[in-house]
């Protein structure tokens, strides 16, 4: 793994992520009413949306090359699809649409989850990976998270100045 290649790759990713993220923030700022109440609930909702925006723009910046980014994009798309379907359907039907997530992972192991399982829960798409590819995806995920944090920190600092 050539270090120069890695840094070039991370720079390109950083730029792509930053661009996408900032455009989303701008959109949010425009759609947001100027005299909003800014209650804690609103802040929480907005922060949730910003978090999702951050992860989605990071996944888009990385592209479908990585398993974890594919998993994130898949989750986003299925969530978007689910939400649009919820909107279309009436409330009566929504009950049937509720997805029951069975936590087989928790039921079967009696004691604590092993480290590998904990890592699988952290890394998106990790549940279906063997240890080897899990470690590889973790490495890439960590580098992406680090760049994400740096960019977001930069933006937040800029805002606060």
């Amino acid at each position: 793994m050539a270090t120069k290649g890695v840094t070039l790759n991370t720079n390109a990713r950083k730029i792509r992520f930053a661009r996408r993220f900032i455009s989303i923030l701008l959109k949010m700022r425009k759609t947001r009413s100027p005299c909003s109440s800014s209650s804690i609930e609103d802040v929480r909702k907005r922060s949730q949306r910003i978090k999702i925006a951050a992860y989605s723009s990071m996944a888009h910046a990385v592209g479908p090359r990585r398993a974890w980014s594919r998993a994130v994009l898949f989750k986003l798309r299925s969530r978007a699809r689910h939400q649009s379907m919820m909107k279309r359907r009436s409330f009566g039907l929504q009950k049937k649409r509720v997805v029951v997530v069975k936590n087989n992972n928790d039921i079967i192991p009696s004691g604590q989850l092993s480290q590998a399982d904990r890592l699988r829960q952290l890394v998106p798409g990790g549940k279906a990976m063997d240890m080897c590819s899990l470690l590889e995806e973790t490495a890439d995920y960590i580098s992406c998270l680090a760049t994400q944090v740096k960019v977001m920190q930069t933006i937040a600092d800029h805002f606060s100045k």
Partner: protein
């Protein structure tokens, strides 16, 4: 196909017996062999069979060459996975595989049925001298074992010890070892040193070394152990890479400790993202949003991440956010606490410490801060362009000041 074999002999004869050359040669031979694998090699095998059965002749070969001839044999026999084929040269196959499974596509061919009966001792006797030579050559090579199939396990020893012993070892062998690229040098040293020991210990528990192992028939446990060894190697390689990524993991050596550190680090990064998104949600209502400043800053994160604490404090004192202060302070304090309470190498501190590692951006940040108060589009954009050039971006814009903020922002969006 026949021409391929003499070709191989040729290239085998060419280089010296240095391990590097043998590796290259083997790889080249492998590449040559691969497309030809599907063809039958029976014609060629006859030549090799003759060579093979004459120990004197074999002795004259380099170990590599002997190995290749064995390979030839093996290939000829093993291309077809019929059990019937095994009858002819089961021992040869066994011996041949030891050498070649690692670098070949022969690993495909090595999926001979595990039900082959153990070869007769005389065949082994014939086979062992060339096998020894082969194994010596092989042992010196640095291969990573191919994981494709491990039906047969033999331990190849690189010394001319008692052939009977050797043959017994080979016959009863249930071990599987893999030569590892990383431990190649060790292998070279130790195979020559330990071959005698290995001969005697052959039937004992496996030595964690070297010689390239070839799966011997039938023993499922051994094939598993072979596969496991490869898997473990891959995992350790990935762990080493992760060790470089996660700060502060240099002292931790165990896999469990490393995994703990990795998990903690990922959790902390995710918490930081959440905290920052909360911060951005709170800060977002600010109307003056200088996009180009933002882009310039994110291109030089070091200059702005040098003042995260300052940023937070200014945010708290801003009168526009007085109503948020309780919540914000709590959030900020929690975030800071989380950041600080974690191990010293958390990402937060890392961002703070990045300026130390990128001194050249200080200049940029200083000229940046100079231009900030002016808040003129021209100056900012020009500065941005200068900074871009400084960083060696491929974006080539004329350094003319843009008069409209919208134009500049649109331009940036197009980037």
């Amino acid at each position: 196909m026949n021409r391929a074999l003499p070709e191989m002999l040729h290239c085998l004869n060419g280089p010296a017996t240095s391990t590097d050359m043998t590796v290259l040669e083997r790889q080249r031979a492998r590449m040559k062999w691969q497309p030809q694998e599907q063809q039958g090699y029976f014609g060629g095998s006859d030549q090799f069979a003759g060579l093979f059965l004459e120990p004197g002749q074999v002795g004259s070969f380099q170990g590599l060459l002997g190995g290749e001839s064995v390979l030839g044999e093996v290939l000829t026999r093993s291309v077809k996975p019929d059990p019937g084929l095994e009858n002819g040269w089961p021992e040869l196959l066994n011996m041949g595989f030891t050498e070649f499974d690692m670098n070949c596509a022969i690993s495909r061919t090595s999926s001979c049925p595990p039900t082959v009966a153990p070869p007769p001792p005389e065949a082994k006797g014939k086979v062992s001298p060339p096998a020894e030579k082969v194994s010596s050559a092989v042992g010196r090579e640095s291969f990573k074992k191919r994981k494709a199939d491990k039906l047969q396990n033999t331990k190849v020893v690189a010394e001319d010890d008692s052939k009977d012993k050797r043959s017994k070892v080979c016959a009863e062998e249930g071990e599987s070892k893999i030569t590892e690229q990383t431990s190649n040098k060790d292998n070279n040293r130790e195979t020559s040193a330990d071959t005698s020991k290995e001969n005697s210990k052959a039937s004992e528990a496996q030595k964690p070394d070297y010689i390239h192992v070839r799966a011997r028939r039938g023993q499922a446990t051994d094939s598993h152990s072979l596969a496991e060894r490869v898997r473990r190697e891959k995992i350790s390689e990935r762990m080493k890479y992760l060790q470089d990524l996660v700060p502060g993991c240099n002292k931790i050596t165990g896999k469990a400790g490393m995994l703990d550190e990795i998990i903690n680090y990922v959790q902390s990064l995710q918490r930081q993202v959440e905290f920052l998104s909360m911060k951005l949600a709170a800060v977002n209502p600010r109307l003056d949003f200088n996009i180009e400043d933002l882009f310039a800053k994110e291109m030089f994160p070091a200059c702005s991440t040098g003042f995260p604490t300052i940023g937070m404090s200014s945010e708290m004192t801003n009168p526009a956010y007085l109503q948020f202060n309780p919540a914000q302070q709590v959030v900020a304090c929690c975030g800071l606490d989380m950041g600080m309470n974690n191990t010293a190498d958390m990402g937060l501190r890392r961002t703070i410490s990045t300026p130390a590692s990128i001194p050249e951006t200080y200049l940029d940040s200083s000229c940046f801060t100079q231009l900030q108060p002016s808040s003129t589009w021209d100056a900012d954009v020009q500065n941005l362009f200068n900074l871009e050039f400084h960083q060696g971006r491929s974006i080539s814009f004329p350094s003319q000041p843009f008069t409209g903020s919208i134009e500049a922002s649109n331009l940036k969006m197009e980037l």
